[in-house]
């Protein structure tokens, strides 16, 4: 197992190096010029030239890359060209906001998706199955930003059940320790702050979690339908085993493998969906920052953030692969 993990980690290195080169070249081939974006309407040709010189934007791309890697080796990812913030610091400051959101979305998707998929899978072709399958199709095709705006309009503006934007009401005056606002409220015993943060997470969590929910429902349904027709399930029933044990040990456990894989693959979807959800709900996470960085040609932020996201995606999928062994002994043996 250890050897497997080490090998996978080693494989990540060339992938990330390749990605960093691709990113570097791709970002610099975008139309538009970071110096002009920095200066906005105040740009004069002389000011643009001086900034290009100072930041080295006009050097050959290869030379820029060598400089970049040189700094990278020292752990220096550079500073945002928009506001001078060190990229690594801002990433870790904003990361908790995105994790909280992604976690809420995933929780929503799993808690609802797995049981729904299971019910549908047990009675394929029944009315419940048809209902769940057709509704989940709707979930897959609804764009994240559309759903986000719709939820906000109906539940925050018209019905006033939830707050409209941000992570927490400024009036709460919460103490922040970890920047995970829900957790912060718990560990400082500011229960109202935690509760407020949870209320702020619900709508964006649903908006972001709907597509993963729909996918999880469909995958679970297919897996359960598959397993349920296996001989060993029929045997278990016919020898009079408790149906609850059959459901948990024989059906769910074996159906879980593809479901876990799917959940792992959803991380990428969650992180890209976060860009839109965070913008609609004004959440100061990595998604919104990335969105702003793209429109402002903020090279250092784009490079580092996309690289970090790729790294997270790889690690999550490694964890998923490792978890196969825990769930399914057959995988461990091979």
């Amino acid at each position: 197992m250890l050897r497997f993990v080490v090998r996978r980690l080693a494989l990540m290195v060339p992938v990330l190096v390749g990605l960093s080169i691709l990113l570097f070249v791709w970002i610099r081939s975008l139309p538009g010029d970071p110096a002009r974006a920095m200066l906005g309407q105040r740009a004069t040709p002389e000011a643009i030239e001086r900034i290009n010189k100072l930041y080295g934007f006009e050097d050959p791309v290869v030379q820029q890359y060598v400089t970049y890697v040189g700094r990278l080796i020292k752990g220096d990812f550079g500073e945002s060209t928009r506001n001078g913030d060190p990229v690594v610091t801002t990433f870790f400051d904003q990361f908790p906001a995105t994790i909280e959101l992604a976690f809420t979305a995933l929780l929503f998707a799993i808690v609802l998706g797995v049981p729904l998929g299971y019910w549908a899978g047990r009675r394929v072709g029944g009315w419940l199955d048809n209902l769940i399958v057709s509704t989940s199709l709707l979930g897959v095709v609804t764009p994240v930003f559309f759903l986000a705006i719709l939820l906000k309009l109906v539940f925050a503006e018209w019905l006033d059940w939830f707050p409209t934007s941000r992570r927490q009401d400024a009036r709460i005056e919460a103490t922040h320790v970890t920047n995970f606002y829900v957790l912060d409220g718990i560990i400082t015993r500011e229960w109202d702050a935690s509760w407020d943060a949870i209320m702020h997470l619900i709508l964006p969590g649903i908006a972001l979690g709907t597509i993963p929910l729909a996918i999880i429902v469909r995958i679970t349904r297919a897996a359960v339908a598959d397993v349920i027709s296996e001989d060993y399930v029929r045997t278990a029933y016919s020898k009079g085993l408790d149906p609850a044990i059959i459901r948990n040990r024989h059906v769910m456990r074996n159906a879980l493998l593809p479901v876990v894989t799917t959940i792992g693959l959803q991380t990428g979807l969650l992180l890209s969906g976060a860009v839109l959800t965070e913008s609609v709900f004004e959440i100061g996470g990595i998604g919104r920052y990335l969105f702003e960085a793209i429109s402002q040609r903020d090279y250092p932020v784009l490079q580092a953030y996309i690289l970090f996201i790729a790294l997270i995606f790889s690690i999550v999928n490694l964890l998923v692969d490792v978890s196969y062994g825990v769930i399914d002994p057959r995988v461990r043996v091979s």
Partner: protein, 555 residues
């Protein structure tokens, strides 16, 4: 296997709970109590907490290295400069300087200083402190601090530094005559000097705090510990904390030398979308916000919220690129001017109270005159002029930006549509080209020749005519595509005049000259709006956003 995994799960859960408890053991709530504060200070009344939303986070809290409105907003509360503005106007008024006298040649200025003023760290504000600030600006080390991205106002007004690439400085020296008087010497006359000192960029800052927390060597001065955690000025509010992307908290300066603030505490939060800011106000999450979208005004007013307008200090225009034929023909430019009904454009796309513009400066700027050539709405005359110029089948590219609202351009798409239909009415074929505002649109308009007629504008920084006319027409540019040496040199000369009184007739002349030359059509000065909850009192809007909150209260 089952037993193993269950045990494993139990251990994991226990470990997680245990670590949570451990963290909880050492984390303290940072709350100071009931939140209604300890109402001390001169007034005795407690004004509560004021939660205000801007459109973005400040870039830095050291205003010398900032040029954006969101960085200047807290700076107006924490800091003060030698010169302020008369409330509600752009005219200079005493602040940390009680009075000033220019020398006759306009090359030196003597300032008398307010006595008994202290910085938030307890150090004195006096002549030594004032001159230290001037010298600090002038001695900004070469590097990122010397780019227009940071020291924009110093570079654009004082031109140069002690060392580095830009050395031809308008600033020469600052002498401490006594602890209550200083003399600043300039290398050339600069009539806008006193008005320029009202910019937050030239706020007085604490030497002790900057020496302790400021950037060292080549480090980025806009991101030093001073500029993010320890900004120290003399203003009515003291910095308390700043969580980026969340909130900036200021508290009342109980030892303020002027009128002590009524509010106990101020929280400034960033909300990017105008509509989201309006939603947050309606939901009671904030007490007020800036940059109200015109579309949200009716719904806010209906619900009993206050809308406050800033006097317009901006200009929106339709620019002509004379590098594109036949826009170099004055008759074609005049024809387009006669084709446009400014009132209709305003009704279609700007907030109520917006007046049509006569020239390229708003009314409250020195040198404004009503005695300029006007081009009345007259479609027949427009057609005749086009025929005369042999341009009956005129086809024009019309550039406009998307994804943007600016104070001078609240709704560019609607403005475009209104003008487009008017141009089509006189037989001009319009080829619309839309681009994303920043950087694509700006790149195309000011960085390339590839555009026809376009929408653009400007918001004034402080009361100086050169800050409008000089910005637009001070030199040949690819935005306008013309070369008019007569106009360029007139503007250079006007800028060098020693006093505003001498400048006024000259700028009036230039305004007339510009409106005859007609490089573009000034359209309007839309009024920018703020919105407040019904219980907010005492907010005085300023054309240059010089809005200290010491008189604001939440009842």
């Amino acid at each position: 296997m089952t037993r193993y995994s269950t045990r494993f799960r139990r251990i994991a859960v226990l470990a997680a709970v245990g670590s949570l408890v451990a963290i909880a053991g050492c984390a303290e709530s940072g709350r100071t109590g009931s939140g209604d504060g300890t109402g001390d200070g001169g007034t005795g009344a407690s004004g509560g907490t004021f939660v205000f939303a801007g459109s973005a986070d400040p870039v830095t809290l050291d205003p010398f290295f900032a040029s954006d409105g969101e960085s200047f907003r807290p700076a107006r509360q924490i800091f003060e400069g030698l010169v302020g503005t008369k409330p509600g106007t752009a005219d200079p008024a005493p602040l940390l300087a009680t009075d000033w006298q220019p020398s006759e040649d306009g090359l030196s200025y003597t300032f008398q200083l307010q006595e008994g003023v202290k910085f938030h760290d307890g150090t004195d504000f006096n002549g030594t402190a004032a001159c230290w600030n001037f010298d600090r600006w002038y001695n900004t080390p070469p590097g990122v601090g010397q780019t227009e991205d940071q020291a924009y106002y110093w570079i654009s007004l004082f031109k140069g530094f002690a060392e580095g690439e830009l050395t031809d400085s308008v600033y020469e020296s600052c002498t401490v005559d006594s602890e209550t008087e200083i003399t600043v010497k300039l290398t050339e006359p600069f009539a806008g000097f006193v008005a320029a000192l009202s910019l937050p960029a030239f706020s007085m800052q604490s030497q002790a705090a900057i020496e302790k927390y400021g950037a060292k060597g080549q480090d980025d001065p806009s991101q030093s510990a001073y500029a993010t955690e320890h900004p120290t000025g003399t203003g009515p509010f003291v910095f308390e904390s700043w969580v980026k992307e969340d909130q900036l908290v200021l508290t009342r300066n109980a030892d303020y030398w002027g009128e002590v603030a009524l509010l106990d505490k101020v929280q400034i939060v960033p909300i990017a979308e105008p509509k989201a800011r309006a939603d947050a106000l309606l939901a009671g999450e904030i007490d007020g916000f800036d940059l109200v979208g015109p579309a949200d005004i009716p719904r806010l007013e209906e619900e009993g919220y206050q809308i406050a307008n800033r006097p317009a200090f901006n200009i929106l225009y339709l620019g002509f690129n004379q590098a594109v034929k036949p826009l170099d023909d004055i008759r074609v430019r005049q024809a387009i001017a006669h084709a446009i009904d400014k009132e209709a454009v305003i009704n279609a796309s700007m907030p109520e109270g917006t007046e049509p513009a006569l020239e390229f400066v708003p009314e409250i700027v020195a040198g404004y005159t009503t005695d300029v050539t006007e081009y009345a709405y007259d479609p027949e005359k427009a057609k005749d002029l086009l025929a005369e110029a042999g341009a009956e089948d005129l086809e024009l590219e019309f550039n406009y930006p998307t994804d943007v609202t600016r104070p001078y351009m609240p709704s560019p798409g609607d403005t475009f549509n209104a003008i487009r239909s008017q141009l089509e009415d006189v037989g001009i074929t319009v080829k619309p080209t839309a681009d994303v505002w920043d950087p694509d649109y700006l790149d195309k308009i000011s960085g390339s020749k590839d555009h026809g007629i376009h929408l653009l504008g400007w918001t004034g920084d402080y009361n100086d005519t050169d800050n409008f006319l000089g910005v637009f027409f001070g030199r040949a540019s690819s935005e306008w595509g013309f070369d008019n040496p007569e106009l360029f040199s007139a503007l250079t000369e006007a800028r060098g005049l020693p006093t505003v009184e001498e400048q006024i007739p000259v700028y009036e002349d230039i305004n007339r000259q510009v409106m005859d030359f007609l490089p573009g059509i000034p359209l309007a000065s839309p009024v920018p709006s703020l919105a407040f909850a019904p219980n907010v009192k005492g907010y005085v809007p300023s054309p240059v956003q010089d809005e200290p909150w010491n008189l604001v209260s939440v009842e």
